[in-house]
């Protein structure tokens, strides 16, 4: 193993060590004692909870009540989503920076572009503001205007979720195919025309899919906002826990679970069908909700907005600000611990619930599990799927209430609540990533007899790890906001102070806390956005600064620049170059030796028959695929050297050497060159020279 290889390895272990260290330090920082879960009190509390949960209260009166409240929560979620989508689209329309739309020239054009830019800034800020304030705070504020009942919950969901939907919609709209927009632009279509005819048709499916996903979340939120007097099942959950009536809690939780799962079916159905079905569902659901929920909408217009308590004095003393800073820090630490905990559990549960990894096989003619072991695997798969489903269906606040009973109030309860909910969410996201894995590398490994575990480790994991990381970071951002809400039920973090300031009407404290929170959430989002972009796009493809300076220097001195097409010795990672020959992989153990614009030399376990058509796929480090290209196999490069199966060299000549395909392969090869080729026999230069020489001679002979 080369020196560089070991260094890379060391660096990777160091990163994991640092992440582990932050976990330990964060645990220290929040002063939580995980032992409280299983000490004498903890076990007794857990036992009481469990025995109550196992015997749900099924008295007809209570069931009737829960049934009605469930519908209220359901309608709150649907109507809230409709509002959120209206608010989100309304603001996103202004927030979108249309690609390929240069500002029109001239004086009037300047004024127009100034208006557009201002509208964009304002709407982006509004979206960020709506998003940063938790639903439960909005709900509390709207109780002042709309009174007690579901109206406050609907508007609260509309604003917070509208903020995040709007942001995502704008991002999706900016990533559309630019050629269509360019065409419309060339035909003289204005901003609105481009939005309606160039962008909307391209993004509508994605928009609907995300709205449906958010609707599931919103109905879960709708079940808990009742805690602050905003209708739905929430008050029932809060009361059953306040009076330690766990049998009633069980009934309520089962109700939540049932209709969340039912809704997931509905949204899966809608996602598979044309957009108009979703619009119809939204319209019918919205009207039904309007009719069912008795909300005094006129109060929004005529209502006494002056009822909102105002304040002019702000407590900016060092003591209060210091306390706020401590709380913010604690909130961040809690979110970090919870995210890491959830990520670890989800990381191991997600492969178990992925069909192709557990029961199936990547090969079409399976040599995989049969009989009893297949059934065991299926059981394992449905078990972990069920676990992820249940944990995902439970809102953080509900879990926080439960954990407050189990381990007592404080940061630990909050951490556990967020962690358990996120096991479900992250597990689902990871599973989706796993299901989308390009099967080629895994097929190649399985064909050569690799076990399930090693297929996962070497063929699947390298494809998914960037997206898994990106999703984890994304959830951390979400969790910072969630941690701010669990404090409402006594589970630590800044939410406790928010709740105190709201319920005791300390308006000036509330304003300061909210400003601090919006600032922190915005900051975390910004940092997260950048880190995610970096993870997903890989390290910057630009050469390091020294190299760029050198290039600049060499350019000025007139030295010829080397084109990437002629780069000499790119090496490819096993799992990242996949070959398909007809139905099943004809060979495996691919070890690339050299790559040029004409073809690829590699080592495999057997000779390829002359003239065999092979398809090559490049898998980018972030798991995306590039176009497939055909290649024709030529006889072994140098049969004299190919004695044992580990050194059989083959040569594939590209039939259509598409430039972008090649450059993609070269980029991958260069990026991963450091540690995937283990060749102790000869230096890279020697091998390259030999490879190229033999390729050209081989080509000559083939053509001849």
């Amino acid at each position: 193993m080369s020196e560089f290889n070991r260094k890379q390895e060391l660096k990777r272990y160091l990163v994991w060590f640092v992440v582990g260290l932050t976990f330990v330090l964060a645990m220290e920082g929040t002063h939580v004692n995980p032992g409280a879960l299983f000490d004498r009190d903890g076990i007794r509390n857990a036992g009481e909870l469990l025995s109550g949960l196992l015997s749900p209260n099924l008295s007809p009166d209570f069931l009737h009540r829960i049934f009605l409240l469930s519908f209220e929560s359901l309608f709150v979620g649907i109507l809230g989503t409709v509002f959120a989508v209206v608010i989100g689209i309304g603001l996103a329309m202004f927030a979108i920076r249309i690609p390929e739309l240069p500002d029109p020239p001239g004086r009037q054009g300047r004024r127009q572009s100034f208006v557009v830019a201002t509208a964009r800034t304002v709407s982006r800020f509004t979206l960020g503001f709506f998003r940063s304030i938790p639903e439960i705070v909005w709900a509390y504020l709207f109780v002042q205007i709309l009174g007690l009942g579901p109206g406050a919950a609907v508007l609260a969901i509309g604003l917070t979720v509208g903020g995040s939907i709007g942001k995502l919609y704008a991002e999706l709209a900016e990533a559309v195919d630019r050629q269509i927009i360019g065409g419309l632009r060339a035909a003289g279509v204005g901003r609105w025309g481009i939005l309606m005819h160039g962008i909307l048709p391209q993004v509508k499916r994605q928009w609907v899919a995300y709205a449906l996903f958010r609707m599931e979340c919103n109905i879960r939120t709708g079940t808990i906002l009742g805690v602050v007097g905003a209708g739905g099942l929430g008050s029932e959950i809060a009361l059953s826990i306040r009076y330690l009536e766990f049998d009633k809690l069980a009934t309520t939780l089962i109700a939540v679970l049932m209709f969340v799962i039912a809704l997931e079916w509905v949204s899966a159905y809608l996602r598979r069908h044309p957009v108009k079905w979703s619009l119809l569902f939204a319209a019918v659901g919205g009207i039904a909700s309007f009719a069912y929920l008795d909300i005094p909408w006129m109060d929004l217009l005529t209502g006494n907005w002056s009822n909102l308590p105002g304040t002019t004095e702000f407590d900016l003393s060092a003591e209060f600000l210091g306390k706020t800073a401590t709380l913010v820090w604690q909130t961040l630490l809690m979110a970090w611990i919870a995210t890491l905990l959830a990520a670890v559990f989800a990381f191991f549960l997600a492969p178990l619930s992925t069909r192709s990894l557990v029961t199936g096989s990547y090969l079409s003619q399976t040599y995989g599990k049969r009989g009893l072991s297949l059934w065991m695997s299926r059981l394992l798969q449905s078990g972990s799927q069920f676990f992820l489903q249940v944990t995902r269906a439970m809102p953080e606040l509900t879990l926080a209430l439960v954990f407050v009973v189990w381990v007592g109030p404080g940061a630990l309860a909050g951490i556990l609540a967020i962690a358990v909910h996120n096991i479900g969410v992250l597990g689902r996201l990871y599973t989706d990533v796993y299901e989308e894995v390009e099967p080629g590398p895994a097929k190649a490994m399985q064909a050569s007899g690799a076990s399930g575990l090693s297929t996962w480790l070497y063929a699947v994991l390298p494809q998914v790890s960037p997206r898994v990381l990106a999703f984890t970071l994304y959830r951390f951002e979400v969790n910072v906001r969630a941690t701010a809400t669990v404090g409402f039920v006594g589970a630590g973090g800044i939410g406790d102070s928010l709740y105190t300031s709201i319920s005791l009407f300390h308006i000036s404290d509330l304003v300061v806390l909210l400003v601090v929170m919006v600032a922190v959430v915005t900051l975390v989002d910004q940092v997260g956005d950048r880190m995610r972009k970096r993870i997903l796009n890989g390290p910057s493809c630009e050469p390091p600064l020294a190299q760029r300076l050198a290039n600049l220097f060499s350019r000025t001195s007139g030295a010829p620049l080397t084109s990437p097409m002629t780069s000499d010795i790119p090496k490819l990672e096993v799992a990242q170059l996949c070959c398909r020959c007809g139905a099943a992989p004809a060979f495996s153990v691919i070890r690339p030796v050299s790559l040029s614009s004409q073809g690829l030399t590699f080592i495999s376990d057997k000779f390829l028959p002359t003239g065999l058509m092979v398809q090559l796929v490049v898998v980018y480090p972030d798991g995306k695929l590039s176009s497939v290209i055909s290649a024709r196999a030529c006889p072994a490069v140098s049969p004299a050297h190919s004695i044992d199966s580990k050194t059989i060299k083959n040569y594939l000549s590209f039939i259509e050497p598409a430039p972008d395909f090649l450059s993609a392969m070269i980029v991958i090869a260069q990026r991963d060159a450091a540690y995937f080729i283990d060749d102790s026999e000869c230096s890279t230069h020697e091998k390259n020279a030999r490879g190229n020489a033999s390729i050209s001679s081989q080509l000559d002979s083939t053509i001849a």
């Binding site: 009481e48 609105w192 009076y243 009822n307 109030p409 404080g410 319920s503 005791l504 009407f505």
Partner: protein, 295 residues
């Protein structure tokens, strides 16, 4: 023939859609009837208990006022106060501290209170296994208040802990105090042993004791606080004076000799209702400011 969409530019169509949607939205609005009187009470006990206590009262008020009366249940003290200040509730049964909040926020007016509310007390209780014998023993133990906005379950116990027992709730307990949310919930917490000590409303304690709502072997009374002013029926600002006067008289004229009215009095835990004045709550307001709960 030109269709609507071909006549308009896209942005005009968008605006048209918004206008149509908006008008549909406003036409679907249901108007709240003005002749309904909405009353509520702070949720200091569990909702079934509150509903039992209040149904005869609602019937009585409907008869006296000649209008429909609805009781709006809330699960949070703050929600009751803000709904009253926002005019979403006309009359509310508030605690001393929540009344002071409502007065401070939106000029609520005190109407009537029970005879017992002028000399109300809190009790300090403990789990029998906690080893708490006298009030000073609460130091170093875990402790539960009721709701954060409760007078007899939080404000006054906190005041007496600080002033008479020299115990700072934020520093001298084994951990930060727990807020159970309601008086009966505090008893349940102490009974379960999850929390060692707690403070609550003496009226709820006496009734739970009489009705054997908890295991008397597990919870004991440690200390009873001095007297203070507590619960009151309050009216929001901006109601017609006749309605407020009628509502107040309905309480002051409750007659124990009439069987139905006797039932109302008994359920409210009162022998008679007396008039309440703004000045009755000045001492509570001072305590609330001193402890930093009212800002």
């Amino acid at each position: 023939m030109k269709t609507f969409s071909s006549m308009c530019k896209p942005w005009q169509r968008l605006i048209a859609a918004l206008v149509v949607g908006g008008s549909l939205l406003t036409s679907a609005v249901s108007y709240a009837a003005d002749d309904v009187i909405r009353v509520t009470g702070i949720p200091d006990e569990n909702p079934t208990e509150l509903a039992r206590k209040n149904q005869p009262l609602v019937d009585y008020l409907e008869k006296k006022l000649g209008k429909k009366v609805t009781y709006v249940a809330v699960t949070d003290y703050g929600a009751a106060v803000s709904a009253l200040s926002a005019g979403k509730i006309d009359f509310a049964w508030l605690g001393g501290f929540t009344f002071v909040q409502a007065r401070h926020l939106a000029g609520a007016e005190p109407l009537a209170m029970r005879d017992i509310d002028r000399k109300f007390k809190s009790v300090f209780i403990a789990n029998t296994t906690s080893g708490i014998e006298k009030p000073e023993d609460f130091k170093g133990k875990t402790f539960a208040f009721g709701s954060k906005s409760s007078t007899s379950g939080h404000l006054m116990p906190r005041h007496y802990l600080l002033s008479l027992l020299a115990i700072n709730p934020e520093k001298d307990f084994a951990s930060l105090p727990v807020y159970s949310g309601a008086h009966d919930a505090t008893v349940k917490l102490v009974e379960s042993g999850k929390i060692q000590g707690g403070a609550l409303n003496i009226e709820v304690w006496d009734r739970m004791l009489a009705e054997k709502k908890f295991d008397a072997k597990k919870v004991k009374l440690v200390w009873t606080s001095p007297e203070y002013v507590d619960y009151v029926w309050a009216a929001r600002k901006g109601l017609s004076p006749e309605l407020v006067a009628k509502f107040k008289d309905a309480f002051l004229n409750l007659d124990p000799s009439v069987p139905e009215q006797k039932a109302v009095l008994e359920l409210q835990g009162a022998k008679v209702f007396v008039a309440a004045n703004q000045s009755d709550f000045d001492s509570i307001e001072k305590v609330a400011r001193d402890t930093g709960l009212l800002k």
